[in-house]
């Protein structure tokens, strides 16, 4: 089912995977929000590299622009706006009992996902092996995503605009504050 990969490819894949995993572990153990955000950016970048290696170049670019760029900047902006870098705010992690329970829940979920990942996938859904390359030849990198997005998933795409409108309205209403809302 899977094509043969060169040794360099496999090595780079594992390298970026290990970087992503290590950054995520460092991210989750940080107490300072700024340090956590920067480690999360590192995770996002390694994942973008993995997307490019998995023949999803456009998604990789979107990952860097939208996640590592826009969303994380908004997070850092809020941290700095609320002035949350103080040491008093940093000691906010939960106690040992909570951490133990969280580790147990994590292990349980992990084993559950691993069991699910072993299920056999339906063969008739699998496209021919060179299908993606053909699409790439025919439509190039952006068109490969744009064509199903604007043909098969047009309704979902249009509904996404409604979602964004609702999100913008909600953010403005919530961020406006009490003084303006009391009127």
């Amino acid at each position: 089912m899977e094509p043969h990969y060169s040794l360099v490819y496999v090595f780079l894949f594992y390298l970026f995977g290990v970087i992503a995993l290590a950054s995520a572990l460092t991210f989750v153990t940080r107490k300072s929000p700024v340090a956590a955000a920067l480690w999360l950016v590192n995770t996002m970048f390694s994942l973008a590299a993995l997307y490019v290696m998995l023949d999803a170049q456009f998604v990789g670019v979107m990952q860097v622009l939208v996640y590592a760029g826009a969303i994380m900047v908004v997070f850092l902006f809020v941290v700095m706006l609320l002035n949350l870098g103080h040491p008093s705010e940093l000691a906010a992690a939960r106690g040992t009992g909570w951490k133990l329970a969280a580790g147990l829940i994590g292990l349980g979920l992990l084993s559950e996902i691993m069991v699910i990942a072993r299920t056999k996938l339906p063969e008739q859904l699998i496209v021919p092996r060179d299908f993606n390359e053909q699409q790439l030849q025919k439509l190039n990198v952006v068109g490969m995503i744009a064509e199903p997005l604007f043909k098969d998933y047009l309704l979902a795409f249009e509904l996404t605009s409604v979602l964004l409108l609702v999100a913008i309205t909600g953010a403005v209403v919530l961020g406006r504050g009490r003084a303006a809302g009391a009127r």
Partner: protein, 97 residues
Amino acid sequence: MLAESLALTAALFIIGVVGVLIHRNAIIIFMCVELMLTAVNLTFVAFSRFYGTAGQVFVVFVMTVSAAEAAVGLAIIIAIFRHRQTINLKDINLLKG
């Protein structure tokens, strides 16, 4: 590389879940949720190699939802901070009775 991608996804997702459980800082919890969403995107991309490019379209949708979620969630955090001067979840217990 499908199996490796799925294992990495599972590990990143679980790290996100554990982060949500062990932290009390609302902003870090939000970032953990973002990590979980990103981890799932890796599954979509890995499967899109065998099941056609539709998986990458789903990634675009997930990114949109996560951007909207970040906008609204951070607005909520700012509103809570303005109201209570803290984002420590220990102090936000109005529903506790």
